[in-house]
Amino acid sequence: MLRKFLWGFIIAIFVVQILAIGLNEIVPGEYYNLTDYERLTGKKITKFNEAPMLKEMVEKGLLPPIEERLPRNPVVVVPYEDVGKYGGTWNRAWYGLSDEWNAGRICYEFMLISDKAGKELLPDILESLQVSEDGREYVMKIREGLKWSDGEPVTAEDVRFWYYDVLLNKELTPSVPSVFQPGGEVFSLEIIDDYTFKVIFKEPYPLFPFALAGDGGRAGLEFVVPSHYIKKFHPKYVGLERANEIAKNNGYNTWYQFVKDKCLQSNSWLVNPDLPVLFPWKLSKDSSERALILERNPFYFKIDPEGNQLPYIDRIVFHYVENQQMLLMKAISGEIDMQGRHLTIADYSILASNREKGGYKIILARQAVGSADTLMINQNYTDDPVIGEILREPKFRQALSLAVNREEIWQLVYQGLGEPRQASFVKGVKYYDPEWEKAFAEYNPDKANELLDEMGLKWDPSHSYRLRPDGKKLEIVIEYTTPTQTREKTMEMVKSYLEKVGISVVLKPIDRSLYVTRLEAGQLQIGVWEFDRNVDPVGDPAHILGSQWAPLTWQWYNTGKKTGMPPKEGTDLWKLFEIWDQLVKEVDSKKRDELMKEVINLHKKNIWMVGFVGALPQPIVVKNNMKNVPQGLLWDFPLIRSPKNLRPEQFYFEK
């Protein structure tokens, strides 16, 4: 014990808080530890209050009093407009379990959470996080007195169990996710006391806090899992025979299939109402296939500045719909209380014209999408070597970009909503670069022709198309899926522009899963995807490192440089990964920003992605009586996980 204490002391001396965790002023829509809130405002919160339905249960002795349900240092949420009232049902629509993030983006809590714009990380399940100077050691403290939704305490035992019995269990985790093993080695864990533990990496891992904030789409299923519940099914605690027997009785072949499905997958909490969670709402037993119902978690750890426990809204009902048209029908007939998911700007006019009938308003967020339809020019294409060479030539990509009239697409396809721009980071995010936004984005077919001539792509004798170096007609295949009505139209226009400079184009709309299969095999010449996730390029670099435009190289990078296609030495692609290798290890955030600039410069010059129109508004339908829903925020995934950055737990209904 004494040794442990000493250890803690030594760490406390050497550890420096280099992360700006916690904000230094009071901002609506943000999260504060109660202690920080009191320090910043000089106001003390001494009395706590709860929803009437919970008060009733406390009086009947079914629940412990509110003071015992909240952690010692709860999170204070500063409401966007004003302190709310309890009650009501929030109706939404979803496509069933495959649409799990419809609920997940509202509910998930992670170790840390992003502020609403994705610029700083705030405490969430963790009360504090300290990082050693070399970026290798992280001391994390869970909120003391934090409780699972079934009332059991959250302690370091949950962490220990997760590390040894889930993460290092070969059956539950056949391969450890890359975020937990930078450089190929899993971190080691040290439990300091009931609420504190230390995570030690072999190499500096300054991007680890992003992983803790739920990056990459993982569901906050790490570090704290409800061990008291999972132990009931884990062979280490009940014996292999019993564990397998339980699984069999539930229709599974093995214990680990059962445990994974019911406890450890991102949608487990939506199929297993008994699974304890830390979310504002949890699955209700009343759920059915037609409607998923979430009800308030009586042990939720966030309060408003007047000491009222959140959430304000009693329950959320997700009504099952077969398709987007039906969702739209529900929205315009006023059956949806608040929803942005699955609505696009193409629906704006029909939503707007039914506003009064449906009794709702439309608020707009700004999508952090650099370009909605983006040509992803495959740098790994080898099926036709001549085309492959052409696609790898920067001049060709620049010419493609210059040949397209973005203004016209913007006006005709998007009715002037959003902005015509190159595929680049949007305004309002950390790494926005106005030069990249305009790089090769003007309409200049003469310059495009000049570049193509320089490449030696001659016209055919009748001057109707260009010829490849081997004398054949130059023809490029663009393959895309059709998630929106706008993509098809945009691509038709792009085709006609490119044909004017002599590049003949074959458009091929294909099914999503076929697209993914072909993409991952490196078989697309040019694919079309959204350039989204602009808020967090460092934590989630998939797009800037080529998951769509150099899929085999991205695979190479992602598999610890084992499989896939390494970039050729000396090329810009190679330089990109050189810089990135430095960046992920760089502890100093200023130097990291400089390296990020170099990455952007490479993109500016290479135009691996050609974008047209981006920064589109995201329409959100909000019933007139629903309050505290803010306007004009960024809309993105994964870091800010909209609408989580709108802070759903502080939405409320005015009667």
Partner: protein, 327 residues
């Protein structure tokens, strides 16, 4: 007659087996599997998933095994009443099927009754009174029923009702009756919603029936045996019911077999448009997601109904038309 039925039954079993093999193979034909389309779906909605996780899942669900093993596992389960596991719903296929079968059968039976009653009456009327105003009206109605796609009619109805009454009549009942046990009010609400699919599905079936019955009856009515019977003094009614109508109904009956699966599968688009919790949309989604056990089981169900339907119509035919029995 019994031997005839037994022979038919054996044929039906063999057909079902072949169908099961073919359908399972066809579902597997597109590249990738459930997980590929799951990833694709996640990506479209902005999420991502670790590749290592995908591999682990693939193993967990047995998707790494060769297709014939997957097939054998599935068919073995079916023989034991277990239809496998739906990946996209995370539920045994059984549960999903039974949940939706009730509403599917209800809509199917109601629209079948609708189309048969009206088809029969109008068809007879137009044949007996050819080229009258009533006949022309019925013809126009029939052509409209045939020509307008079901889903379009459904959409127009929904939209029309919404603009007139500001009520959304999609689905099976209004959202306020969700999770409320059946009572009189909820029953009324269901009736309020149910007539749309019944009308939409019924009219197109009806149109076909009217045309067939009218054409056949017109043929039969002027055949010599009818005229002979009439000239011998048999009452017109008796002649009509006993002979020409019976013969005119043969094509009618021989297509009964198709109406069963048609109602299950043909109603898919309508059900999607109307947001009906029936089997059709389930099948479409299962196919899109390559949720093979679910898709396979549904295709099996459809085939089963086709086979049963054909069997019924064969037996009925043999009963109506003695010539067939001695074939």
């Amino acid at each position: 007659m019994i031997i005839y039925i037994i022979r038919r039954l054996i044929n039906a079993l063999i057909t079902l087996f072949v169908i099961s093999v073919i359908s399972f193979a066809i579902i597997q034909l597109p590249p990738g599997d459930f997980l590929t389309s799951y990833i694709a779906q996640l990506r479209v909605s902005g999420e991502d998933i670790d590749l290592a996780t995908v591999e682990a899942l693939r193993k967990q669900y047995g998707l790494d095994k060769p297709i014939y093993i997957q097939y054998l596992k599935w068919i073995w389960g079916i023989l034991h009443g277990d239809f496998g596991y739906s990946f996209s719903w995370k539920k045994p296929v059984n549960e999903l099927l039974w949940n939706r079968l009730g509403i599917t059968v209800l809509v199917a039976v109601l629209s079948l009754i609708f189309s048969w009653c009206f088809g029969f009456i109008i068809g007879m009327y137009s044949a007996v009174h050819p080229y009258s105003i009533g006949d022309y009206l019925a013809t126009v109605l029939g052509y409209i029923g045939l020509a307008v796609p079901n889903f379009l009619l459904a959409l127009v109805l929904l939209w029309g009702i919404y603009t007139l009454t500001e009520e959304n009549l999609s689905g099976l009942y209004s959202i306020k009756y969700l999770n409320i046990p059946m009572n009189f009010e909820k029953f009324l609400d269901i009736l309020k919603h149910l007539w749309i699919p019944v009308l939409v599905l019924g009219t197109s079936g009806m149109a076909g029936l009217i045309r067939t019955l009218r054409a056949n009856l017109l043929d039969e009515l002027h055949k010599p045996y009818v005229e002979a019977a009439l000239s011998k003094g048999l009452p017109e009614n008796k002649v009509f019911w006993k002979y020409p109508l019976r013969i005119a109904m043969i094509p009618f009956i021989s297509t009964v077999g198709w109406s069963l699966p048609w109602i299950f599968s043909g109603a898919t688009i309508t059900a999607i448009v109307l947001n009906l919790p029936s089997v059709g949309p389930l099948l479409l989604n299962a196919l899109k997601n390559q949720d093979m056990y679910l898709a396979g089981s549904l295709v099996m169900f459809l085939s089963f109904f086709t086979v049963i339907g054909t069997l019924i119509s064969d037996i009925l035919l043999a009963w109506v038309d003695p010539r067939i029995r001695f074939e």
